[in-house]
Amino acid sequence: MKYALFLGCTIPARLTQYESSSRAILGNLGVELIDIKEFACCGYPLRNIDFKASILASARNIALAEKENLPMLILCKCGFGTLKHADHILKEDPSLRNEINATLKKEGLEYNKGVEIRHLLSVLYHDVGSEAIKEKVTRPFKDLRIATHYGCHALRPSEITQFDDPVNPTLFDNLVTLTGAESIYWEKRIDCCGAPLTGVNDDLSMDLTEKKLANAKQSGADFLCDACSYCHIQFDTVQGMITHTTSNNNLLPAILYPQLLGLSMGIDGRTLGLAENTIDITSIERRLSE
């Protein structure tokens, strides 16, 4: 199994633990990752203002992977959704594809047939498989209740993302269960984290985040688990800002899935960058079996 690892902009700049923990677990599972230095913005933040600019950014990344003939493995769900969307458009719309290719040609690139675009969780669940993961889980969690946050841009629009059942998804819950933790059901699990409006309408964004966290906590979760850079910053850094500015101390710490899985595989917390989370999650290590 060999993939071009697509990190996007946010992870190397603000969420390095997502990269280090993903590399650690994927390495442990025998997944080979290739770094393409020229990968750049996925196009997600540009779509509000300029559709074509966004498609161009996506297409360039896909073309880079296509040049190496590698499927892409994406950690961020917004990046995943955007690349899937662009890939779909580029396949459907030949005139736009030609226009984009004319620009890409200047740097010797071409979107031809595209490549497979996969999110980390799909790679783990479908390509690596439950059995292989289970074999590596040496220190399963005990008495740990996890609320899975699916992430909008992976789930929807489902006809394009093809991630999981958009109404009743199970993929992430199954992956969490493999670590020995219990994946609880909660009402807002497929709702938005609020991140797209951070910096645009912060009150609304934080309101949505707070409601989600409260719902997960009421449903009995000890931690929230996510697998997207924007969602995680929202549930970690922004949650920190919420508790800092309001009296709400009703914390529900968030952990990235590769951190959770990594711990259950016996990988140490430092490699997984636990300390880099804004909200302290080190207490989770006490839930590991000996």
Partner: protein, 589 residues
């Protein structure tokens, strides 16, 4: 005489220029960070900072950075071996030429008592260093003008730098070549050092030897020579010349050049071409020196300073006065090498948006120009603002900058200042604002919210109907204009299938977040779909709902009619921004 005068003048201009530059580093104000800090405070903070640093453990960091990043250019090497080799060849060999050749009276003669420019190893080394610089220059020309990596811009300053070094090098080599063959120089030297005059028998012997071995071109003494004559010449040579002259063949570029000039050498010599070349050679050096503080060569001083300062400074801990000074200095530390642009995450977007200020290497030049001029026209400032906003704050430009410039801090600082302007920047209404949102605790609340409000209001103000909610809407005929303009290929025209069931609105978490969503959001998703179906642009564009859309795709996923609700909203946002931007531009404010 002329040489000395021009040297002193160029040194004087260089010193004045440098003082002027230092003054600008202490006085120029960039962005929000340097407001209200007087020059006197910046000067005292800078001096204090320097002294405190020198006598602290930080000095070890500085030494490390000086060796790795300044001397060995680690950052360039990490990014691009070709560019590293190019720069090391140019700067390394040029520095050696400067020390050994240009400053020979001060340095080389002081270190080596028997120093002579025409003696080995100096003779050979001068050509070797010259050759290395020329190889570097050729590589630079190849990169900038033949290879042309995507989005690398070459400005007049880049060309000036390459041309000036090329002139210095080429004039030096031709000068050397013409001097090797020069009969008049030879004659003068023989008179001065051997005390032999033209016409004497010994002169003939020595000249024969020099024509034979040293490439001198004589008008009358020509090969073939008798062995005895050469033997006599050799003796004379060893007596008077060999102390200062190695075989010119060691000048492995100058000598072959002299040989190819052979036929013309006498004519060139008579015309005094070597004197002319000497003037060109040293004047080019002096012009470079005098102009250095105003050219990109200033980076010889500023890039090390920037690298060193950034290695020990931190926005959170350092004195704001020193940050302000450092940022002013950083504008002069940019070499316009394009490393930042080559790694820019949104660099490719320039192809769509056409605004070169999206590219970090061009943005910093524009900011530098704007800061130097003090006042720039509004359209230029808008372009800079858009350039600073179309940025994902991925930090790559800062990570790769060989001059160590903290570009991300610079963008943030300039962006926050420019956002205070009276014109709207529409990119604020996108996830590009995510980073700004995370940084909001450091921005005064009014300054933080104003650009967001301003952009939304600018869009709403173009929508007459939104301002007059009671106005009756003429429904027939439905305008096709809007429908025809929604062509971005997301099948956004699926809105015509909307039958107003409100499933989208019911599924929307934004609508659900408000008690009176209509009051806050203006139009709800199903109403926007309907307005779009009827072609009522004002209602489709003017609603706040557009900008509060999370793009979570719940509406689209659940629509029973297959309307691409989220995609339509996306496309309406694009169109609303485009329309308003062209309105704002054409009204000039």
């Amino acid at each position: 005489m002329f040489y000395s005068i021009s040297l002193y003048i160029s040194i004087a201009i260089f010193i004045c220029g440098l003082i002027y530059k230092i003054a600008t580093w202490l006085s120029r104000k960039i962005g929000v960070d340097s407001k209200d800090i007087p020059t006197s405070k910046r000067l005292s903070s800078a001096l204090k900072g320097i002294i405190v640093t020198i006598f602290s453990a930080k000095i070890l960091t500085l030494i490390k950075i000086f060796v790795l990043d300044v001397l060995l250019q680690r950052k360039v090497l990490n990014e691009d071996t070709f560019r590293w080799l190019t720069h090391i060849l140019i700067y390394g060999a040029f520095m050696l030429l400067l020390l050994m050749h240009a400053l020979d009276t001060f340095i080389t003669s002081a270190v080596f008592s028997n120093y002579s420019a025409t003696l080995n190893p100096f003779l050979f080394l001068r050509d070797l260093f010259g050759a290395l610089v020329i190889i570097g220059i050729c590589m630079a020309i190849y990169r900038r003008f033949i290879l042309k990596p995507p989005r690398l811009h070459t400005n007049s300053m880049d060309t000036f730098a390459i041309v000036l070094i090329a002139i210095i090098m080429i004039s030096g080599i031709i000068l050397e070549g013409t001097k090797i063959g020069s009969y008049s120089l030879y004659k003068d030297m023989v008179t001065d050092y051997a005390g032999i005059e033209e016409g004497e028998e010994e002169f003939k012997a020595l000249t024969a030897f020099w024509v034979h071995k040293f490439g001198t071109i004589s008008p009358d003494i020509k090969a073939p020579f008798e062995a005895a004559l050469l033997e006599e010449g050799k003796e004379l040579h060893e007596m008077s010349c060999s102390g200062c002259h190695s075989q010119p063949q060691w000048a492995f570029i100058g000598y072959p050049f002299a040989r190819t000039l052979k036929g013309a050498a006498l004519g060139l010599d008579k015309a005094g071409v070597h004197t002319l070349l000497f003037y060109i050679h040293f004047l080019a050096c002096f012009i470079g020196l005098a102009y250095l503080p105003f050219s990109k060569f200033l980076h010889i001083i500023t890039s090390p300073l920037s690298l060193l300062a950034n290695s020990i400074m931190d926005k959170k801990e350092s004195d704001p006065a020193n940050i302000a000074t450092r940022q002013a200095l950083e504008l002069d530390a940019c070499t316009h090498c394009g490393a930042c642009t080559a790694r820019c995450s949104v660099g490719v977007i320039v192809e769509e948006r056409g605004n070169v200020n999206i590219l970090p290497s061009e943005k910093i030049q524009s900011i530098k120009g704007a800061v130097a001029k003090g006042k720039t026209d509004e359209s230029e400032r808008r372009r800079i603002l858009e350039g600073t906003y179309i940025c994902t704050n991925c930090h790559r430009c800062t990570d790769v900058c060989p001059s160590g410039i903290n570009l991300e801090d610079l963008w943030f600082n300039v962006r926050e200042d420019m956002l205070k302007a009276d014109y709207p920047e529409f990119s604020v209404l996108s996830p590009l604002s995510f980073y700004r949102g995370l940084m909001r605790e450091g921005i005064p609340a009014d300054d933080y919210n104003r650009p967001l409000i301003q952009a939304k209001e600018a869009i709403a103000s173009t929508c007459e109907l939104m301002k007059a909610p009671d106005k009756a809407v003429t429904l027939t005929p439905a305008s096709k204009e809007l429908q025809d303009s929604l062509l971005l290929s997301d099948q956004a025209d699926t809105f015509s299938a909307c039958f107003g069931c409100q499933t989208c609105t019911n599924a929307c978490p934004v609508v659900a977040a408000y008690e009176n969503p209509k009051e806050v959001l203006g139009m709800l998703p199903h109403q926007i779909m309907y307005a779009a179906g009827l072609g009522i642009k004002d209602l489709a564009f003017g609603s706040k709902m557009l900008w509060d859309c999370l793009t979570c795709y719940q509406c689209q996923e659940q629509c029973p009619q297959g309307v691409h609700v989220t995609d339509v909203l996306y496309e309406l946002k694009n169109l609303a921004i485009k329309n308003t931007a062209s309105n704002v531009e054409s009204s000039g404010g």
